[in-house]
Amino acid sequence: MKLLTLNFLTCARKTCKSNAAAFPLHPKEAELEQVETDMNPLFIKNILPRLDWEAMKTLTTELGLPNLPAETPSDEELATDGEPSQTAKDLHTLLMETSIQSGKLVCGNCEHEYAVKEGIANFLLPSHMV
């Protein structure tokens, strides 16, 4: 699962919906994988304002990845002379190419663990937890 997706996932339980601690989910025993994909600068630009930068920062520290700048990069930083800049390339590597292959995602509120296998997270809940 791409780190991009992880920046949008919350706990699936109804009781967690209203709790701020249900987002972001915290990776545990995560195995990362790097898959090269084509860059799509326009998509990066479109998705950037919607990213939760604070969550992104906690995620990179938890995964032991290099630290991110304190603020969301601005639109101007993404391109130099019409070409995607280094910042944009780094964002692409982080969001689109880095993925969690296996491990667990833990809700900060109810501490429920969602298993991730082969890059697919299991969000099925037993009926008593819905």
Binding site: F8, A12, K14, L42, N46, G119, N122, F123
Partner: protein, 274 residues
Amino acid sequence: MSRPEDNLPPDLFYNEKEARQYTTSSRIRNIQADMTHRALELLDLQEPSFILDIGCGSGLSGEILSGVEEDEGGPHTWVGMDISSSMLAQALERDVEGDMLLADIGQGVPFRAGSFDAAISISAIQWLCNAETSDVSPEGRLKRFFDGLYASLKRGGKAVCQFYPKNAQQRSLISNAAIKAGFGAGILEDDPETKSVKVYLVLSVGGGDVTGAVSGMENVDVMDARRKERKRGKEFEKKGSKAWIMRKKSQMEAKGKVVKTSSKYTGRRRKTAF
């Protein structure tokens, strides 16, 4: 034709064998591809977007989403949800580009508010009308799904769900659930009144009017079934008028109170004394 929905729940129906057949059958692939293209046409996305694929299965529709040409506003990035692990295994084998979750859409959509530009669903949401255990109901599952979907789409976002309703009742059950969640909703029918009728539920967050989704398309008739705002009878009768008095009297009578009999003098104004 038998409906798979009538036999087994989706996670059991799409077992390894069924999932493989579904994914490799060229007939199903063609139908799915046509419907995905139609849904994309309805979504009318201009820029590379972040799309939720509900009931993504083996990624037949997702493939098309990531394959949209640059000059047509693509390629899009998608996240899929499906309840059948065999279907997702097929998707892994085929090495699709999007992310996938094993999740039951009837349990809600586990994304934070405003995540997606659009959502697409091909032949999935009719499964919501099945309640497999006694502690869930179709209405409850539909409500959780549409509430979750509404929240996870950004403002101005659109969703197109192609589905196979069992009958008119199921069709209105689904569309009413969407309207109740706050969507502006419309149903587009392709090839109506034939065996291969395709029903698309077009939903929009904010903005309300979904007929705009088909403007500029050829061969589309718009039938507006929205209820016009109607003044309730109560509002145009003035308090103290004859109609008002008669209504109040019948109300009191219905309650079992003693009410004076009505005559032609009831509710008439007295003439002024001087």
